[in-house]
Symmetry: C2
Subunit: 188 residues, 2 copies
């Protein structure tokens, strides 16, 4: 060990996340990033290898935090159905801010294996808990007994994306709420 890093990796990554969210990967220059992160370019390359490495780290951090938030919301409230509603409410409340994971999917699809792996891991984790919650909701009687919980979990995850896309294209809070309510209606 020698001279320690002067900046905090996490907070620097958070700034990078902000840049990537607003401009995407391709349109974010190394100069933009180093300026926003408050560090020199060489420090950036030293810490993250290259721009793609920084992007992967940013996506991983953002998507992990996002998933954690989702899981926390899901476990809130007395009944499982409350958790689902709180989850969607939280997504709506934060929808004004672009989602890096969603932007990454749109920008790259499945063309980059490392990126796909990061996104897939987070989604698996989310879907598993979501399906479990849905099964609970079924046992409570707040979700129809005939629905396939795995399919319903995928549907809700897709609904989250739908809400975010709608918000990014200008939908207001009321429209987002109507969207979420209709989606939950499908589970009854």
């Amino acid at each position: 060990m020698a001279r320690p890093r002067e900046f905090d990796l996490g907070t620097a990554l958070d700034e990078a996340i902000g840049v990537f969210r607003e401009q995407g990967f391709a349109a974010s220059s190394a100069a933009d990033l180093s300026r926003a992160m408050g560090i020199g370019r060489q420090s950036l390359y030293g810490a993250f290898g290259d721009k793609w490495g920084l992007y992967l780290a940013a996506v991983k951090r953002d998507v992990t935090q996002d998933t954690e938030d989702h899981l926390l919301a899901l476990s809130t409230g007395p009944r499982a159905i409350d958790g689902l509603e709180i989850l969607l409410a939280r997504v709506r409340a934060k929808a004004a801010q672009a989602c890096l994971g969603l932007c990454a999917v749109c920008e790259f699809g499945r063309s980059r294996a490392e990126l796909t792996a990061i996104l897939a891991a987070a989604e698996r984790r989310f879907l598993a808990v979501l399906a479990a919650r849905l099964r609970e909701a079924q046992q409570e009687g707040s979700a129809g007994p005939e629905i396939d919980v795995k399919e319903a979990a995928a549907f809700l995850a897709a609904t989250i994306n739908a809400v975010r896309v709608a918000a990014r294209s200008g939908a207001g809070a009321a429209q987002l709420q109507a969207l979420a309510e209709l989606a939950l209606r499908a589970l009854r």
Copy 2:
């Protein structure tokens, strides 16, 4: 008038659409575009002004064609509900190919007025017909009488985006079908 253009604007635009679909705006270079379109760079700038102008023209063409396809699907089948199902089936069938309108929203949000106007116009047109169809479906009895048709139309439009995002992130045909079925379930 003097020498006429040697290439067809529409087919050249279609090639540009393909490039923008796969790479987005920022990552598509003028060289990429002129190569794919089969024309010289100067011809490209002569016909479309600059890269942004070409992008706007490409988005407009793609989104207009897409909307036209949607409206055609909606008017198919004996009952209104058939049209809705056919619409979603068509979206699923074509979901392997990225949607330029959706990518544009993710890449730029509402930050470019000209782009926003193009997307908003197409969406208005689509939502109006969709809402009308939903009202018919209500009168048929295939959609619940208590639902707000405008909200439901926005929900279905959002569902189309959800299906496309899911496909771009790797979902198979069966998962897309389950998604669409659950969405339609919300209208019952």
